[in-house]
Symmetry: C2
């Protein structure tokens, strides 16, 4: 099973290497070509493609016709070199594949494309100061704005490192804290969502709810804060949060600890991947879900509804957040684009199968501290 079976060449039926493939492209059509075709000066063409108001309607129509005839597309590089409007955005993020990140990226891309912006990605390899500074520097180019995904330490540091004067918007985990430093941001209010999920579990009859956190972007994590608040408001004991992480693997490790504690009957997880790991640990420990332990996730990934048990989780609309983030940025760099933010969406607890009442004493479903697995 060869993975990179063929990394070098065209298939057998392909043209030779010196074929038309290596031919230079004909020079693309420029505003001068359009100008000539429309019998105007090239400055007028520039006005038309920039929606400048003072162009006679008949002139505009002629230019537009020539543009379409010739298939003219403005050269982005020339535009930004000449000091035109910002027409590109590069996203700084420490991750591209985890659900919240990938979905946000998707929303940004959709909105950017609709606005005619090019979208770039620059990954933050680590949270080390030098690396962050370098990455921000590389991303900061004339003519391109920045979006920072500040869901984690690397992101918040990058946001702080963006020099004043660079157009930027951030998607943040929490608006508290000073990492935004006057930079505009969007967020999902998962503090309230965590509180509500906690209340839901308490309402099912659990004495308390344990929490497996995802890594926080700052000292204060809104999901953790919401969980704690939910507990406190109900007068329930506040257990120490587990050692968490982003992945199912991290959830599994936390889940093993939790499964060994008979007092644990309800677990809130920082995301659905973590919940998968917790579910696995519970199964291995012989703790049925939801009969013995309840598990609730965060995100509602596309797979969560098809797990067994189907995951009860908080649905968060990361795609919409990404769109909102771009809209915010767009309004910053283009006055005409202002106020196109979509309707705010509500986070929603999706009740499925993985949470229920705590086990009744004597049913044998309470944790024994050691399962068959």
């Amino acid at each position: 099973m060869n993975v990179t079976g063929h990394t070098s060449g065209p298939p057998a039926e392909a043209a030779p290497a010196t074929g038309p493939d290596t031919a230079r492209q004909p020079r693309p059509v420029s505003i001068r070509d359009v100008a000539a075709a429309a019998s105007v000066s090239y400055q007028t063409v520039s006005r038309v493609i920039n929606n400048h108001p003072s162009v006679k309607e008949s002139t505009r129509a002629a230019v537009l016709a020539a543009i379409s005839d010739l298939g003219f597309r403005p050269n982005r590089a020339a535009r930004s070199l000449a000091g035109g409007r910002v027409n590109a955005v590069t996203v700084l993020t420490s991750d591209t594949t985890r659900y919240g990140y990938a979905a946000s990226l998707q929303g940004i891309e959709e909105a950017a494309r609709a606005a005619g912006f090019a979208m770039g990605i620059q990954v933050l390899e680590s949270a080390a100061g030098g690396q962050i500074r370098d990455a921000v520097q590389r991303a900061t180019e004339p003519g391109t704005a920045l979006i920072v995904m500040a869901y984690d330490r690397a992101g918040t540091k990058a946001l702080a490192a963006v020099p004043a004067g660079v157009p930027v918007a951030a998607a943040v985990e929490t608006p508290s804290g000073r990492q935004a430093e006057g930079k505009p941001w969007v967020w999902l209010d998962d503090r309230k969502a965590a509180q509500q999920a906690t209340q839901y579990l308490l309402g099912l009859g659990h004495q308390t709810v344990h929490y497996v956190p995802i890594p926080a972007s700052t000292g204060t994590s809104p999901r953790l804060a919401g969980w704690r608040r939910g507990l406190e408001e109900a007068g329930a004991p506040v257990p120490e949060p587990a050692v968490g992480g982003w992945t199912a693997d991290a959830g599994y490790r936390a889940g093993r600890e939790l499964a060994a504690d008979p007092a644990v009957t309800a677990v809130l997880c920082g995301n659905d991947d973590v919940a998968v790991g917790v579910l696995r640990a519970m199964a291995e420990a012989g703790r049925p879900v939801p009969g013995g332990v309840s598990v609730v996730g965060f995100d509602d990934t596309p797979v969560s509804a098809y797990l067994t048990p189907a995951l009860t989780t908080v649905r968060l609309d990361w795609v919409a957040l990404g769109r909102a983030c771009f809209a915010l940025l767009h309004s910053l760099v283009d006055p005409q684009a202002a106020a196109r933010a979509g309707t705010p969406l509500e986070a929603e607890l999706v009740v499925r199968e993985s949470a229920g009442p705590p086990p009744a004493p004597g049913t044998g479903l309470e944790g024994s501290g050691h399962g068959p697995g």
Copy 2:
């Protein structure tokens, strides 16, 4: 639970809107500044930053020192306008969040960043001819190369629409067929992998193996071909492939059909998400996995090992594929970059819990056609 709790402004402690945030950036340092600092002409600076061989070593050192002192970074737009080397890549893809796509993207980004390339993404909304043509047009800019993710119809169409002369590399589902048309490509040989997975299931004692496909990029799907080949070589009957798709939801729908057929004892799935849906359908139908039915996936997503049952699946290294794809592209546009392709990796069947021998007759584990669920 307000999702876009705050989409418009800075937090309370932020600077006023007219603060330093809106100040214009000071003019970035140019090659002329560097030239002045190093007491050479700016052409010499250009030679140094382009690694031109004919520069005296002492001159080069002086220029490099000035570059570092001044924090000079070349302007990408100016470079490509002036006709310099390709220094950016934009990826055309119909998806950014599904595992294979997202992981490939990650590999491309890593490799592009390491090579100093900017990376952009352009999503293909549909496979409609006009849309594809537009997307390819927009992505085709002077100074930027293209990578096409041709794992699906939209991707193969986009690849075919790339004009000759534009530097491009593709990650394809299958190198057969004419969609590549002389354009260089990389791929993962999942045909062999599918064949091997099928053989594995047959070896466990199953009479045949059913298949739930992912959508094919062309008329011929390598995974499907490998599955069929595996069956034929063993002289096993070749059932009609199920109606598949990309998602757990598609897998679930296929799984319900399959679960209703008592003759089905082994199911190979086009990817792990589909497998999750099949697993769910089997559970609902009261068909235990692997006791009653075996299920095997494709990809080995980070979550697959933590499902219950843990998923037996074919591990595919999409990140490495992405890196290889960029390396191929890089060698095309920069002679000095040639042949840096990494070691080819083997696809690997990861045996976990979801596949086993078929149920013995009379154990009650054979499908009854109607489960309790």
